[in-house]
């Protein structure tokens, strides 16, 4: 028992170390991007903003541009680790505070969208898996539509109906729960459709397994077999996909944010790219990478909880 616990602890350490390596890689890449941008580092950092020579001199001091590259790299790493992501000369605020203002609404939106998508996918997969052909046809047709329609179009449609015509929901802004409903729905539709497809396929595979038959032969109801046995098996691939999609969503949110006039990382990133605001771009990249790594590390640790067979695997 003790050796098994030690093995699990060891695996945890290895997994965390890998995550740290990934983040370190992301920091290094953004450092390289800074130095590989054509022109001087000062120009790259200030972007299109016109700054005084004093500011340029200050940048050279802050980034230690007169020192060897390796020393600069070390200093940069140190600053990132201590939470200093630099200063945006266009926004006249630190990158951390710019991101801080955007990340809350973004995480809310991505989280709410993903949670809604998971609920929709689970309900739809559980009710339609292994049913009559027309029910499954209907469901997969709906999923095809869901994955195919562009997110912004769904957003505009939702706004038109629920905000402008019915007036149930606010049309702009991200305050409170009501402002979150429509954007979350517009994100959840394509994601939920995709997850639902994967989950139904998984459920149908499980329902064919001998243990599902055994459970039914015990006198368990069809719904019971789906909930108590099949669902857990079908969750594994869905969780993998959901983790990956969550990372994608953080980046792909800009459209939804624009349509619903919400603040967030997507809009921040878009403005920064437009204005060649490199410190903000680098900061958003690092933060996105961190969120992605945290989510996926968490999921990796959940797998063995769901599937005991993975606990013994090296």
């Amino acid at each position: 028992m003790r050796s098994r616990r030690a093995a699990i602890g060891g695996r945890l350490l290895v997994r965390l170390a890998t995550s740290v390596m990934v983040l370190w890689g992301a920091v290094t890449v953004s450092f390289c991007a800074l130095h590989l941008t054509p022109g001087s580092v000062e120009d790259a950092l200030v972007g299109t903003t016109i700054v005084t020579p004093e500011v340029r001199a200050q940048i050279a001091v802050d980034y230690g541009l007169d020192r060897p590259l390796l020393v600069q790299y070390g200093a940069y790493l140190g600053r990132v680790v201590s939470g200093d992501l630099g200063y945006s000369y266009q926004r006249h605020e630190s990158v951390v505070s710019a991101i801080g203002a955007g990340i809350g609404p973004s995480l809310q939106l991505a989280g709410a969208g993903m949670a809604l998508a998971l609920v929709v996918a689970t309900v739809s997969a559980l009710t339609t898996a292994g049913r009559a052909r027309w029910i499954r046809g209907l469901a997969s047709g709906a999923e095809l539509v869901g994955t195919s329609v562009p997110m912004f179009w769904v957003g505009i449609l939702l706004l038109t109906v629920f905000s402008f015509q019915l007036g149930w929901m606010p049309a702009v802004g991200g305050d409170g729960l009501t402002g979150l409903v429509l954007p979350a729905i517009s994100m959840a539709i394509p994601v939920g459709a995709l997850l639902s497809q994967v989950m139904r396929e998984g459920l149908e595979r499980v329902l064919q397994q001998p243990f599902a038959l055994t459970a039914r032969a015990r006198g368990m109801s069809d719904g019971g077999v789906r909930l108590r046995h099949a669902l857990r098996h079908a969750l594994l691939p869905v969780i993998t996909l959901a983790g990956w999609l969550f990372g994608m969503l953080l980046g792909a949110m800009v459209v939804t944010e624009k349509v619903f006039s919400r603040p967030g990382l997507g809009v921040l990133m878009l403005d920064a790219v437009h204005g060649k605001d490199l410190p903000v771009v680098m900061g958003v990249v690092l933060v996105s990478a961190t969120v992605y790594v945290v989510v996926n590390t968490g999921l990796d640790l959940i797998y063995p909880v769901i599937d005991p067979r993975l606990r013994e695997a090296t």
């Binding site: 397994q209 006198g219 005991p308 067979r309």
Partner: protein, 567 residues
């Protein structure tokens, strides 16, 4: 313990209440008629066996008794009564109550118990579902059930997951879950097919015990020998109908249907040695069995000298030595985990031994250059248990053989003709060339695997459980094919199997393995009739045997090998 009213008759209280009454049952899946008008009755305390091959409709019949014939099935019958209730009019909710009084045991507990749930939870499930016990008494009952089916340390086992148990313990746990509500009828569908002989014997004993307790048994199997030990009555099923129906002794000793006779003749073992297992069909019937191309055993082609192989701290193969001569068959027999397959890989030069040597034609693999090894590999080919996974699924039959012929150095221009020759040699034909292996039957696939192994012109075939996933009659055909090829070409076989009957039938010499060690070796008849080692005796005692009376309806079509006839 009586769980509900009408619950099974206790020991010493024989009643002949019919539990299953089926008359004229038909189950169709669209245009496919899986079960075509069968009738039978199972009474309490009785054991009825349905014997048939895959696709005969036996499992569908069993599943229909649970109201679970499968999706898209149409069930029709004059009578279908379960525990006195008319099952034809039952709604889903009523079916669940019917199922509460039945138990279902499927083939492999690794996939019949939910792999994500603890064993105890699976056994508790029927108890909770049907509310037969107060919730707080369920855990104690689970332990009691595990103990009743002979699981040691039930407390610890209940907390484990199915994959953490051995095959035998898993199967016991599955039976425990099936008998949890003290059912009137236990349906066991191939309950021992995935198990080693000694474990199989234990499970059969356990089922016999349940029956003595008054539970009716419906056994479903492809193996007549397995059901013979337990059943009162045997129903032989073929293409959805019962071709034979009678008391077990009558069916085994005086089978009335040719199919039953073929099934009996197909059982490999002592009685079949030196005979064809499958009844020849068509023109083949007149074919005399060809004499061996090389009289007597030839030179040593494969030799193992003190082979040792470790995996971590576990010793998989421990000091194993043997010799295989041209034109001979050496059987390696042992239960799962005995090191058989590892020895096969060592001999093939795919694994390097930690000690000892595997020699081909007197030269050790370790002494060969890379080029020489590739050259030697042509002469020693392998046939696996599951041929499908050994084929590239995107290749068709022609490409599969083409690749093997390329290895054998056959020029491109001749390969097609040679491929057709090979197919004919294994009893397939040219029309198969453009099929994909997934569209072949199990027997055809194994024939193709043999054809592929023959393609580079080998002198030795390593057959690793080549018939273990096949039905008895298909197994008979494949074994016959191997015997015929050996007679024609003087091939040597290293024949690996856990099935003692198959080993006895095929081998000249045998090596009995246990935990990686050689327990006993020698001439097969000697080892099997007068075993010296205790372990061999135990193995032999565990085989379910049926007394097949000499020449029981098998007649003159059962040709003997000339060699055996003259010796």
């Amino acid at each position: 313990m009586a769980v509900s009213d009408g619950g099974g008759a206790g020991p010493g209280l024989p009643d002949n209440r019919p539990i299953i009454e089926v008359e004229n049952l038909t189950v169709t899946f669209g245009a496919i008629r899986a079960v075509r008008g069968v009738s039978f009755t199972v009474r309490s305390g009785e054991c009825v066996a349905i014997v048939g091959e895959s696709g005969s409709g036996k499992s569908v019949t069993a599943r229909t008794l649970f109201g679970l014939p499968g999706s898209g099935a149409t069930v029709d019958a004059t009578t279908l009564r379960i525990n006195g209730r008319d099952a034809l009019t039952l709604r889903e909710k009523q079916w669940r109550a019917v199922r509460a009084r039945l138990g279902y045991v499927l083939q492999d507990a690794l996939v019949s118990l939910d792999p994500l749930r603890r064993v105890g939870a699976e056994i508790a499930e029927p108890l909770r579902l049907h509310g037969v016990l107060a919730r707080d008494r369920v855990p104690a009952r689970v332990i009691e059930l595990l103990r009743a089916v002979g699981v040691p340390e039930p407390q610890a086992r209940a907390a484990q997951f199915p994959h953490e148990l051995s095959g035998g313990l898993r199967q016991r746990a599955l039976i425990a879950s099936a008998i949890a509500c003290d059912p009137d009828l236990l349906v066991a569908d191939e309950p021992t097919t995935a198990l080693d002989v000694s474990v199989q014997a234990q499970i059969l004993r356990l089922l016999a015990e349940r029956r003595r307790e008054g539970t009716a048994l419906l056994l479903i199997s492809h193996d007549l020998a397995v059901v013979a030990t337990l059943a009162d009555r045997v129903l032989v099923m073929k293409d959805g109908v019962f071709v034979e129906d009678g008391p077990v002794a009558q069916v085994l000793e005086a089978p009335s249907h040719p199919y039953t006779r073929a099934l009996l003749a197909a059982i490999p073992g002592a009685q079949s040695k030196g005979k064809w297992l499958s009844l020849p069909t068509g023109s083949a019937q007149a074919d005399p069995v060809p004499a061996p191309s090389t009289p007597g055993p030839g030179e040593v082609v494969i030799e193992a000298r003190g082979l040792v192989k470790r995996y971590g701290t576990r010793i998989a193969v421990n000091d194993v030595s043997f010799q295989l001569r041209a034109g001979q068959t050496l059987g390696l027999v042992g239960e799962s985990g005995s090191g058989k397959t590892t020895i096969g890989r060592l001999v093939l030069g795919l694994l390097t031994p930690d000690h000892g040597e595997a020699l081909v034609d007197g030269v050790a693999w370790s002494r060969m250059s890379g080029r020489r090894r590739r050259e030697v590999r042509r002469h020693i080919q392998v046939v696996h248990q599951d041929p499908l996974s050994s084929f590239d699924p995107r290749f068709d039959v022609r490409q599969i053989l083409d690749e093997a012929l390329l290895v054998g150095g056959v020029p491109r221009a001749q390969r097609r003709a040679r491929a057709v020759e090979l197919l004919e040699q294994v009893g397939l034909d040219e029309t198969m060339l453009h099929r994909r292996p997934a569209r072949l039957s199990g027997g055809q696939r194994q024939r193709l695997a043999i054809a592929r192994a023959l393609a580079p012109g080998p002198r030795v075939l390593v057959c690793d459980e080549p018939v273990s996933s096949l039905d008895v009659s298909v197994q008979a055909q494949v074994l016959d094919l191997l015997v015929r090829l050996q007679r024609e070409t003087g091939l040597a076989y290293l024949f690996i199997s856990h099935h003692l009957g198959v080993i006895y039938h095929m081998s000249d010499e045998v090596v009995v393995l246990n935990d990686g060690r050689v327990v006993e070796s020698g001439e097969v008849g000697q080892v099997f009739t007068a075993p010296r080692a205790e372990y061999t005796r135990e193995l032999l005692a565990a085989i379910p045997t049926i007394r097949v009376p000499a020449g029981a309806g098998i007649g003159g079509s059962h040709a003997e090998f000339p060699q055996e006839a003259t010796s």
